[in-house]
Symmetry: C2
Subunit: 223 residues, 2 copies
Amino acid sequence: MAESRDKTPAPDSGSSIPRAVVSRLSLYLRELQHLVRSGQETTSSNQLGPLLGFTDAQVRKDLAYFGQFGYPGIGYRCQELIQAIRGILGTDREWPVALMGIGNLGRALLRYKGFEQQGFRITAAFDIDSEKTGTTIEGVVVYDAAEMEEVVRRYGIQLGVIAVPAEAAQGTADSMVHAGLTGIMNFAPVTISLPDHVQQVGIDLAIELEQLSFAVVNRHDKR
Amino acid sequence: MAESRDKTPAPDSGSSIPRAVVSRLSLYLRELQHLVRSGQETTSSNQLGPLLGFTDAQVRKDLAYFGQFGYPGIGYRCQELIQAIRGILGTDREWPVALMGIGNLGRALLRYKGFEQQGFRITAAFDIDSEKTGTTIEGVVVYDAAEMEEVVRRYGIQLGVIAVPAEAAQGTADSMVHAGLTGIMNFAPVTISLPDHVQQVGIDLAIELEQLSFAVVNRHDKR
DNA sequence: ACATGTGAAAAAATTCACAGCA
DNA sequence: TGCTGTGAATTTTTTCACATGT
């Protein structure tokens, strides 16, 4: 909001962006928001990088994929960079999200407060258990999975979260694709296959603990 | 178990293992377990890789960091490779885990069934809310956070999970380090700093959705 | 014939280091 | 002076391709 001055960047052109760059972008965003809350108006690659364990050059190179956002001699204006990164990530708008599976994890996600702040709102939930369908949790209606296509269209939902048991994950994913979703976040500990036009992000909680286990057993890397 | 034959590997020597390699190892493990459940006894780099979207060479190179596990002309014996990867990741034993914070997410993690199968057991939970301390959830006692050091020592816990609000995360992390934990999985959406000898893995649910948002907005990579 | 393990080649990502602007 | 943006150098990771073992 407010602000102007056109140091308009070249919004990328040909080559595709490395995934690692995008994931650092999210970290920059989180840290910038933190800096703003603590009252800072500007920052620099040399402050931001080290806060996250990266070098200053890395920060600048990452941002350079998307344009020019800094001011030589000054650094970056936090609010401005936040807006820019939001634009890049696509979170400068609100995304309605569909949640599949109202088990322990599903309910926790429904109540999680961290999504809205970043532009995501769980708008509809689905389950196949008739004990659950028709109820409302945190103001979100739980529909029968059979209604997915209709509800997804009604709310213009593009993103969905899989929080069903592993055995049901692929089938659920297929329904989601059929209903028209184009991005799927999968918490089930299985590989799911999707058409090329549907994007996915997988989070396997046990795998994350395995990574931690490895790091602990092999601690000597001193990073 | 059983099995023998010493094609004993060189268990790595000098250089450190890329993180990406370790994370693929976990995926290989998950897929191998899936293959075994579907009755397969052996597999090959050329089957395993493509199942996960990698090349066969990548699979072989990754495994080669840790030793020789395959049989030319045959491939890999699933059970054997599973055991080997477990040994590498350190999940061939059981890890007691401490859980900090019994909010929505904490309770969901406590009830999550996917951990035990991979060698992790939440052994003790902690909170500061006196409404919660002293209760038992899923057979796990909720202690007051002040008892952390004593309980961690009693059970020989090394790994801990942070599921407290963002504002409390760094303080909780400090207590965990003080209590002697050496690996921390952090669900709070903030950067936490830890001494070098303490390992961490961070999971920020909103960030994962941001990654998905980016992928959907920029879908054209055709991977 | 089939599939591993691995040097060598290629590609990609990171770091360096500096010209240029505030 | 302070800090960005960026070519060039370096390091890391991935892919190739083939000798070797079954």
